[in-house]
Symmetry: C2
Subunit: 345 residues, 2 copies
Amino acid sequence: MTNRPSPVSLRVKPGPTRLAVTGIGNALLDVISRDHREAYRDLGLVKAAMTLIGSEDLGRFIEAMGPTVQMSGGSVANSIAGIAALGGAAGFIGKVADDDFGDRFAHDLRSLGVELDLAVADASEGATGRCHVFISDDAQRTMATYLGASNRLGPEDIREPLIARSEITYVEGYLYDLPPAKAAVRKVVEMAHLHDSMVALSLSDMFCVERHRHDFLELVTSDVDVLLCNETEILSLFEVSSLPRAYELLDELGLLAVVTRGPRGADVVTATGVVPVAAHDVEEVVDQNGAGDLFASGFLYGLALGADPVEAAELGSLCAGEIIRHLGARPEVDLAALAVDAGLL
Amino acid sequence: MTNRPSPVSLRVKPGPTRLAVTGIGNALLDVISRDHREAYRDLGLVKAAMTLIGSEDLGRFIEAMGPTVQMSGGSVANSIAGIAALGGAAGFIGKVADDDFGDRFAHDLRSLGVELDLAVADASEGATGRCHVFISDDAQRTMATYLGASNRLGPEDIREPLIARSEITYVEGYLYDLPPAKAAVRKVVEMAHLHDSMVALSLSDMFCVERHRHDFLELVTSDVDVLLCNETEILSLFEVSSLPRAYELLDELGLLAVVTRGPRGADVVTATGVVPVAAHDVEEVVDQNGAGDLFASGFLYGLALGADPVEAAELGSLCAGEIIRHLGARPEVDLAALAVDAGLL
């Protein structure tokens, strides 16, 4: 982290300053329902995974849900909201439609102090994307996503200002589900490299990894500095069945990786070995939605401030512990105060 | 409760059966935000009360809010959702616009099994109503309501089918803020009397009582069987400064009343005296939004099932205790199971 600005400038302040992290991801509104009757099964969804649906499916999926709560979501957008809640300066690039949901998505990030570079889709390109989240009684979340306008993010929507000012540029694996994604991610990576911004990638979801394994392997081999994933995603990426084997392969790539493991915490995988970091004790897990996203908030913000990866993972673990205590994937408490109390900020 | 059907028929079952309660109230979507900075002050709102705003204020109010969560609301609608969550057969009459918020409002009640008789406003009559809820750090909620389409509920929208089948017809005091309200409420009361349905009234809010004291006094004197209110509302209604004095005046009216008192529980006021019912111990009060509404769920459902008023108030207290543990005024847990565990159902 030599030649980087003092961490102090990565805290929120007015005017064009350095940013800790800029995220590029799907701009989605979460539509969340408790799924006591396991309706997700009848809809053909895979538990704890994300399935893509089309606009023609929207009526059927909402009809199958119980009473819903709506809040802004999107995996990387959640991580960025978490960084802002930690007091960090952060940016977000994505695409919405000119509708109520799009306005709300923008409002929610902006009100946290996040700098936005949101492209707006034409009326003909669909509504703002939404993710239907089914929360099982065991707190697992199963997702059905209509990408809508977020699906239209293309290279022309990737602009330089936020990336150029960011310590870390954080890309969502889900972006590869968008047709023009490869070109857009290529542009992100080039801009980030040009401005000495570290490139972080989230593998997003095990099925997402299956869909795009080849592209992801190419990306992590050549362009990614920090890889964020969970156990099933990293096993799927390398098509291996044991974590130690996956960690050997990560070691060969020579990048920094963190592998989240639910209640078993997270493994930080560096050139000098694997360091486990414990999960935070949570009395009652209400909703695992957002655990990985908020882990990323703490981890990436820690790295941006110059913490070592294990310290950064501890901050990630603290944030993940907060988000699973309540419904939804956006923080409900003052994360910065929580982190200061825990001696992590 | 002579000549009334067996309580068993008031549980949810298919087809036209008896209903425990039909509510008539504002159909609103709640837009909820934690208000750490007490933004409600700068907006000229009165803490813990409901202020009406116009469509021209919407932008300013949403801009002042932090990140928001959206869920269906409306005071009496919340109570009806709670009755459905308790396993009761219930109905709701109100008015929405033909828009996303209106669809969602209907979906949320219908998915709980509530029978709906929703009038739909013309496009020219405004959007579906919404209530901006500011949650202070002390868990108090301050509200700014744009009534929108719900404001257009008139006598022509009050139809007989649901009321005719209901043990109790529950009217929201807030309805008096709608210009054609007196005629609509008059029609509700006549229909209810005709079909031997008890008329219950919520006083809604102390400022609502100030705005409509004369109308409310007339209503409780002649037409109301059950009155639901909190301390400030009953003091305002009678313009007295002590609860014992208010209880004397209630006694003269000869109706059943329940006065909720926050952490001090509720007082059941009957012809034979005042019986206090304790509040449920709640470890951490997150959001008092909906406490009164959910108290009404348990109280009215208990009465409809033939419980005595004190038992009914205990069920109300249990439901109120659940709702204040989390954000929002719609139940998050299986209220029926909770009530069965507590020996109250």
